[in-house]
């Protein structure tokens, strides 16, 4: 008991704590399960009703990604705000006073879980959506140009929106308010900006995911269309989303370290 203990907690210890916290809640598994099932169901319904073989069939099969992201984003928010609601945050920060390390561990653990879930959702949706095609339309294959990239990045977008939610949770600290900011920032702002400033619309997270990451036939604006937004390329879009998540997490970490718990 009284002996001087050598050593120091490290990232892996904190990450293990966060992993136990995440996996020991049933709501985690329910939410992730519904995310995969919801995206798959949407892909099947769209596949069954597709009549235009010239459309972006891959993008169609991944249509469940954008609504499904909301669940991952909310789970990210809760990973932070539920600790404030219960008071657990004080136990966490007493166990690990290095607050930046706490948020980094949460981001790593949740980022990986959300990535795995997202990839599962994307690949299962893609397969199910293709299998559901009728009217003699051939299913898209992963070997076709841009298809594998679209499916992979669709999965990655779950993780990035989840991290955005985690960062917002650290900034806002109240569940309802953080979810409102997430929905407002990710979903509603895209609609608003789309109307007010077309040039900026392509930089909105939802539009990046829907029109840059998950598409195999980018930016098919009709010629001379004055109101057509310019969409980013898939990789530029991915970079932009990473930047958003990193910025929000960075601000969250800074505030977490400065504020009283």
């Amino acid at each position: 008991m009284m002996a001087e203990r050598a050593g120091h907690y490290r990232f892996r210890h904190v990450a293990q704590m966060e992993w136990i916290k995440l996996r020991s809640l049933r709501s985690t598994w329910w939410t992730l399960g519904i995310t995969v099932c919801g995206a798959t169901a949407m892909a099947i319904v769209i596949g069954l009703n597709t009549r235009n073989a010239a459309g972006d069939l891959t993008n169609n099969a991944l249509a469940g990604v954008v609504p499904g992201l909301l669940l991952t984003g909310v789970l990210g928010v809760l990973m932070m705000t539920s600790e404030y609601t219960s008071g657990m945050i004080r136990a966490t920060l007493a166990a690990v006073p290095g607050r930046g390390l706490v948020l980094a561990a949460k981001a790593a653990v949740f980022g990986i879980v959300a990535l795995a879930t997202g990839e599962a959702a994307a690949f299962i949706s893609f397969a199910a959506g293709g299998a559901a095609l009728r009217h003699g339309i051939a299913a898209p294959a992963l070997t076709q140009p841009g298809v594998l990239r679209a499916v992979l990045l669709a999965g990655a977008s779950f993780s990035l929106v989840g991290l955005l939610g985690l960062g917002l949770g650290a900034i806002v600290r109240h569940t309802a308010a953080a979810i409102a900011v997430l929905v407002g920032g990710v979903y509603l702002a895209a609609q608003f900006v789309g109307v007010v400033a077309h040039g900026a619309a392509g930089y909105m997270p939802v539009l990046i995911i829907g029109n840059s990451l998950t598409t195999t036939k980018p930016d098919n604006c009709p010629p001379h269309a004055a109101l057509c937004p310019h969409f980013l390329s898939a990789w530029a879009g991915l970079g932009m989303l990473c930047l958003y998540a990193a910025a929000v997490l960075g601000i969250g970490a800074w505030l977490l370290a400065r504020r009283d718990a």
Partner: protein, 250 residues
Amino acid sequence: MIEARGLTKRFGSRLAVDALSFDVRAGRVTGFLGPNGSGKSTTMRLILGLDHPDAGHAAISGRRYRDLGWPLREVGALLEARAWHPGRTARSHLAALAASNGIGRRRVDEVLGMVGLAEVAGQRTGKFSLGMAQRLGIAAALLGDPPVLLLDEPVNGLDPAGIHWIRDLLRALAVQGRTVFVSSHLISEMALMAEHVVVIGQGRLLADEPVADLAGRAPSLEDAFLRLTGAATEYQGREGATSREGGHDG
């Protein structure tokens, strides 16, 4: 050993902790007494590095809390009841905390046994009674077998048998040479549990002496406490008036 030196914490214009200095020595139970809202919990949060002081500092065995290598193996703390996710089981809650400080899983079951929660370890904590919740909080504090313990109102919600149990437990921990710092607003409980008391009112130090000395100055410990804290309230009234003249210090 816990040291507080000039600890000061302001919330807006209210001075919650006012230049508080005291030592909590090892090998005895030290009570931390004060009326509700006197700054006991804030002081404990400052010692644990959860709140940032506006001035002064606190140290555990000579080191700031944030510099501890394995905080849970140096300091065990119980701050508030039910400070965990209600959907998690008692065992998972402790396993998560144990993992963060490299404490083995066997220790989790050991402390669950010590506080009498072994049989409900796999149940979700949302259904726990307040008494069970306090026991789980104490299990978390004991997890790292720490030489220093900080407990904020640990007897709250416990039945007489539970209060008796915690009194014996804390005394036994102190006899082993640990530093045990326990806050309460229940003076009668402190009279039974503590050898030494730190008394604060309005965030200021009012007394830091053996329980026997404090009790000896009045018909009872309760009278001595009320005299001390009553004086602090009057003093605060005058101080409040002066600081308002001062204007923009909040």
